[in-house]
Amino acid sequence: MPYALCFLLFMIGLYCAVVKKNMVKIVIGILIMEYAVNLFLVMLGFRWGGRAPIITAEDMVGGSLSELFVNSSVDPLPQALVLTAIVISLGSLALMISICIRTYERYGTFDITQIRRLKG
């Protein structure tokens, strides 16, 4: 169920990016898509009642990891991926917004139906 909601969020973002005419709204749509994917990644590593995967002395039983640790710790990798993805989307957001601002300076509008000098 949470996965379906996550996919719904993704589709809302895609709809917004494809259908909206305002440049800023398109950028927001792309961001919603990125957040949906980030949310999906975080959910992959989620576990009810899970705990941080840090090995302490109590977790070692006879030289190997205890069963409790293996069964209750969360997967840390998706969190590392999400951090990287957030940094990347921050970079692309900055570039997108700066291009929007430059375009506004040139054309005096954010409406993409009026920004149409390229054709063919």
Binding site: F10, G13, L14, A17, M23, I26, I30, M33, E34, V37, F40, L41, L44, L77, P78, L81, T84, A85, I88, G91, S92, L95, M96, I99, C100, R102, T103, R106, Y107, I115, R116, R117, L118, G120
Partner: protein, 503 residues
């Protein structure tokens, strides 16, 4: 001496961060440094020919750490990237004097090279995504580098579609991780082999095909390319058309399909239909264009269609369990056309830049009679046009011939016929270019036009020499060291995982 693989990402990345420090005063020094870096990359790429190895970053062994993988296919792409970036960097020395803040341009250029090298060397899909974003972000900024109306518009369009593609790819990566528990390509492939495909993985494959298809500008996803490529400065158009759409789009797509998910009949048909659609629609849209660079951009779509068609036919033969030799021939044709296209299309964009710099326009109707005024540009442009139209003995002819032969061999006579017809239409549109730019009356306002000399001439002449000589890649000794290993990587398919794990 063996060169460690991270060098290919580290050199351009470090140079990219050093270059803006030079500022306005040290423009000459910055240019020299950037050229040195691309030259160094070219030399290192040449020394890697014929090698294959795995580099584990920080000595973390494979499933735990990040690894870089060099095999035949990566090596082929690295060579193409290095050759084209070296030539275009040489061209930019003089060409980019028209623009302000040259050091920022050089920095973005090196960042793009770092991203592309990373994509072709990366051994796990998440790093592939990260490098892909580095290269894409640099290219969005470079497309809008002039900051004029059209350039900003093209850049925004490219950026929106590119960001959607990246999001699709990241979603695919997340689905693959959720279903196989690994990000390393070799281990994902192993997991898929043992447990088989499920709905999640199939959906991930669709997402990858859409995402990389958008990056490669195959036909249903091509809308951004004809705007973005002509708007960039000429050397960047050459880089974008020459190597960016290949390394970010076709290479990644082919790597994921052949080596990670494994070929299947339905996926091969998707590849073949994407290829044919791009080939036909691209070329017919190109014929009607009057803007030189826009025409070339449409031809990029059409030529990428050839590459994907060749590889798709190979995939279909492999998926049906047919003759491996036929499959190898088809894939060889596709990959050979990929490198050939990198050379002749970047040369065509460089000549368009040279013409634009001398005459101030790239509208075919405003040009004419430049043969006498710009002899070198004329010669190189004719060589490149002959290559792309598939006239013997230039390189484009050989790769198109191989694709046609393999289509006939596989029993697709209609596909072979379409390939030949598209090639003829390509010839027509390049005759149009020759006719309107170099022959006919010289317009009044172009009487004072001068040929571009120096580094621009060297860059164009060296690429033209490559166009003539690259047919030699088919002679057995060179073929076995450069093209064959790349083909073997793909025909091996799922054996990739065991090869990597045992290496």
């Amino acid at each position: 001496m063996t060169i460690p693989l991270p060098v290919f990402v580290a050199i351009p990345l470090v140079t990219a961060f050093l270059l803006p420090l030079f500022g306005k005063k040290g423009k000459a020094a910055a240019t020299a440094l950037a050229n040195l870096a691309t030259l160094l990359l070219l030399v290192s790429a040449v020394t890697l020919v014929g090698q294959s190895r795995v580099y584990e970053i920080g000595k973390w062994s494979i499933p735990l750490g990040i690894n870089l993988v060099l095999d035949g296919l990566s090596c082929l792409l690295l060579l193409a990237i290095s050759v084209v970036s070296c030539a275009t960097m040489l061209f930019s020395v003089r060409y980019m004097e028209q623009y302000t803040s040259k050091s920022k341009y050089l920095s973005l250029f090196m960042l793009m090279v770092a991203g592309m090298n990373g994509v072709v060397l990366s051994g796990d899909i998440f790093n592939l995504f990260v490098f892909l974003e580095i290269a894409s972000l640099a290219s969005y900024a470079l497309v809008g580098f002039g900051c004029e109306h059209e350039e900003l518009e093209a850049s925004f369009k490219y950026m929106v579609l590119g960001s959607i593609a990246s999001t699709f790819i990241l979603f695919g990566v997340a689905l693959v991780y959720g279903n196989t528990g690994s990000l390393n390509m070799a281990y994902i492939s192993k997991a898929i082999q043992s447990s088989g495909m499920n709905a999640g993985l199939a959906f991930a494959l669709c997402l990858f095909m859409t995402g990389f298809g958008l990056k490669a500008a195959l036909v249903p996803f091509h809308a951004w390319l004809p705007d973005a490529h002509p708007s960039a400065p000429a050397p960047i158009s050459a880089m974008l058309s020459g190597v960016l759409i290949k390394s970010l789009g076709v290479y990644a797509l082919v790597r994921i399909i052949f080596n990670v998910f494994g070929v299947s009949v339905s996926v091969s048909w998707v590849l073949i239909s994407l290829g044919v659609l791009s080939m036909v629609i691209g070329v017919f849209l190109a014929v009607g264009q009057w803007d030189f660079k826009r025409l070339l951009a449409y031809h990029s779509i059409s030529q990428m269609g050839y590459v994907v068609l060749g590889i798709g036919i190979g995939a279909l033969i492999l998926a049906r369990g047919g003759n491996i030799a036929w499959a190898s021939l088809a894939i060889l044709g596709g990959l050979f056309h990929l490198v050939n296209h990198a050379v002749f299309k970047s040369l065509l964009f460089l000549t368009s830049g040279s013409i634009q710099m001398s005459t101030g326009t790239r509208q075919l109707k405003e040009l004419g009679g430049l043969t006498e005024k710009m002899p070198l540009t004329r010669t190189t442009c004719s060589i490149a046009s002959a290559s792309i139209a598939g006239i013997p003995p230039f390189n484009g002819f050989w790769s198109k011939l191989i694709i046609v032969i393999s289509a006939v061999q596989a029993g697709f006579l209609s596909l072979a016929a379409v390939t030949v017809i598209v090639s003829l239409v390509t010839l027509i549109s390049f005759l149009k270019i020759q006719r309107y730019i170099f022959l006919g009356e010289l317009p009044e306002n172009l009487q004072e036009v001068k040929e571009n000399k120096g580094t621009m001439a060297i860059a164009m002449a060296s690429l033209a020499c490559l166009c003539v000589l690259m047919g030699l890649l088919l002679i057995p000794s060179l073929r076995e060291s450069i093209l064959e290993p790349a083909v073997t990587v793909l025909t091996d398919g799922m054996r990739y995982s065991t090869n990597i794990i045992n290496m």
